[in-house]
Symmetry: D2
Subunit: 295 residues, 4 copies
């Protein structure tokens, strides 16, 4: 069985690494904040002092960090993965990053005879814990097949999207739809509220008809109850929409729905709701209609 | 059991009236195009020559026609419902119309001591046949309760939205979300396609993640297969978005998502896709990205 | 010389009627609020008690009121123009109304052998006083030519747009550009302010370059100085954008710029700035960027 | 008098450098394509073989190239300015670039004790020839004052915007307004055309009213005459709107007008009009309304 290195032990990364340990993999972990590794060490993980050291000790390295900047530092910073990784090994990144960065990593690692997959996930904390994540993967087909078993130790499905960068692009396209559906749900609920319609009944209509969606299921009752505890923060949603806008600017695709959603979440961020759940976009519409949606 | 009059025997109206007959109601029907009543007459329906005649013979009148103009003609035109309806009876409109028209009908019928409900539905032809429609109803609570049994003879759920006009408004707010979700899905699929991602795999990602929606379920495979046979036509979607835009202009709600979707479907209509399914909006994006989404 | 009837003695109408008197026309005036006619009576105007009475006494009737509803009442209400106007006479409306209403008036008056022109203006109070208004006129060419001299008694230019309704449509298309240019100016000034650029200097750049516009000239310094005294109110701008949106929905033209501007002014209205100058849209952007543009 | 180095001899750069020669400055020039320098050499310019060589020979270096990438190469590429520039000298960039790049250049040159100004211009080829450009300048006040005379040898006005990066930001904010005004003008003209209004007359209305703008002056007749010969190409307009969108994403300003315009020009680019004048956006609207605006 391959020796696995796992970098990034946050909300998603820690349970993913724990699942690898539980399935019997030998796992070395690294996190910038050292204390985060203790729990996994108790489950049998080795702890590396730097990404470089971790890379030297691993056949496959998996990374799960917060954004482009963190990925750049872990791969190409001082004592980074690129400095320690051995020819013939494989690196998998599951962060949500820009496709151009994914392609750049692939190309720089290829020069060291190292294979790379960009393999972001859908599913949040509970799916990471249950091992039911869905991986959308960019990279060459053989590498995807070679790592399928490893990925299925952390998730329920592995879908090959295309060449390097297309995993990252799929994640952004997916999250673009998330942002549009969430913004559309909230706009519809605001219209209904302003028209004097009972919010609970309207949500039933939505979920019983063609307007039904995962976002309505996840956010509908949170909006009515003004429960903006974070599942997926408004700031993170906005970050992804900005990455997607940069992607589509590069691709040359007109994206009026994405742009409308981006401006709305930007308004929510400017109003100070960035650290709340993305459902807090409802607060923006509530300020416009002069009433609470759920009242 | 009440005597029912049913006006409008199109794709939705005919199976709805048939369900009433099957449940044992005495039903008189009317349609502008006379031949459409034959099938129902064979099931035991009486056929009226005018809405006026039908109204005179009924305790409850149900109407299901195509738009504001058709409703105005059937209610207030020559030999219309308003001219024949008896005090104490009830009229229910299940068409998708503007809330202002619903309120005007309610107010004019109230002067004749006639109760009115605006009761549009979600669910299309199959749900009309199976009797699994969902009714969102505007009107006073007692009238809704008094007609609940009748409505449940045609549907699976009856939800009271608020006073007259709020059934019509709920339908428009619901369909606004439909239009936004459909446009967002198509935009996301276009981004993915332009980024070189396999469409089938991307649709699996969408349906497996936070981007999942009824529209993705209904339209995803139609888009990939370029099957634009009509479930809900692009022209009808556009009509509803225009009604919704007029509603929100009146309510004073800023609706950037709705407006973005409206402009897109308008573009699709201008390009000649009005008579295809709303999924044909994909054709607009395909002209922008220079390739088929499903290839 | 023709006998003129003039209805609507507001900010625009009063100086227009005064110019007719000054040029020697015999003018009968009417205003819903009677006191408004006193000043003109002092200049020699006769005062009618109703639009009907005024119409009976006039060869040409000019109307200048606030919106569709006011026009409908003055033309078709009790004691309205339509009830008194004589065959062979001409009616000119200079209000900003929807083209569909203009066409309806034309058609109803034609049945009485009365000619109609929809002739809205550009230019505000000062231009009304100086007689330098520009008339954009819808109606048949001979009628326009027959009334050119009368219109030039109140303005500097008479432009024939096309058949009835196209004067009204031209006004809406014009004001759509006004709204877009004003919103674009404010958005650009907000970007500059957030980027730490001196507002006065940026305005000089705007006026010295390809971004120059009448709106920058009229509103630039008002925005910097937070002087939102009304030249053209935000509420009126929003009203016109809504009329234009209804017009373009009917024409089937996708109008993403108009819709974006409409949503913004709607946001300004919802925030309580409707009675200020349209430049107060700057307040919306200032709430987003967290600072005054002019500081 | 200072020795000047001038890099970038395109449509704008060549006449700017010629003006410096005419005013008596000693000018060394460099262009990637060598032949472009011949004309200036005939006017007395020295010709350098690399930016490095040019920088070594100059007290002040002015650069005027096409985009971020070209600027990066000239400053930091092999034999670039940064490798040759002497402490105490000044570098001025007049290209349209992203503010973040301008700030990075300023910071890297400061480490070599070299002053930097980002000083883009408004005004196109004729203004470059006549020496009537307007410079909007980012950098410290003393450096701006020290170079004012030099800049006025190429332009009519020098406006200090703020610290480094704010010249670049001002240019993007300015061009954002240009794009919005142009798109708004075309949308308004399309509405008018679809409503059956004569295009020439409508343009007179625009220029006579509150909708008047530099864009209407520059593009109105081009649109009517379908003359899309390039003053400012659609592709370049789109490039600037994308840079502006990236800037405002970074600043956190919601910019719905900018995004709407960006999507429209992106649509024009996707339809193949990138190499025509930005007025060719009219072709997109013409495809929507099914007729030529000017007919």
């Amino acid at each position: 069985m391959s020796k696995i290195g796992f970098i990034g032990l946050g909300i998603m990364g820690k349970p993913m690494a724990a699942n690898l340990l539980r399935k019997g993999y030998e796992v070395t972990v690294y996190n910038r904040t050292p204390g985060k590794a203790d729990e996994l060490a108790a489950l049998g993980a080795l702890v590396a002092k730097t990404p470089l050291e971790l890379a030297q000790a691993s056949d496959v390295v998996v990374t799960m960090v917060s954004n482009d900047q963190a990925v750049e530092e872990i791969y190409f910073g001082q004592n980074g993965i690129a400095a320690g990784i051995r020819p013939g090994s494989t690196v998998i990144d599951s962060s949500t990053i820009s496709p151009s960065l994914a392609r750049r990593i692939a190309s720089e690692l290829a020069e060291k005879s190292v294979r790379f997959l960009d393999a972001p996930v859908t599913g949040s904390k509970p799916a990471a814990i249950d091992g039911t994540l869905l991986f959308m993967v960019g990279g060459d087909k053989e590498t995807v097949e070679a790592q399928r078993e490893l990925l299925l130790a952390m998730g329920r499905e592995v879908l090959h999207m295309g060449e390097n960068g297309s995993g990252a692009a799929a994640k952004l396209a997916h999250n673009t739809i998330v942002g549009i559906n969430a913004a559309g749900l909230i706009e519809g609920m605001a219209i209904a509220a302003k028209a004097g319609i009972d919010a609970e009944s309207f949500l039933k209509v939505v979920q019983g008809g063609g307007a039904a969606s995962k976002q309505a299921e996840l956010k509908g009752r949170k909006i009515i109850g003004h429960d903006f505890s974070v599942q997926f923060s408004l700031a993170l949603m906005l970050k992804d929409l900005k990455l997607s806008s940069a992607l589509t600017d590069g691709l040359g695709v007109p994206t009026p729905m994405l742009e409308a959603a981006k401006s709305l979440f930007q308004t929510g961020q400017a109003a100070g709701y960035g650290d709340e759940d993305l459902a807090a976009l409802a607060r923006v519409y509530e300020s416009w209609i002069g009433r609470r949606i759920g009242e």
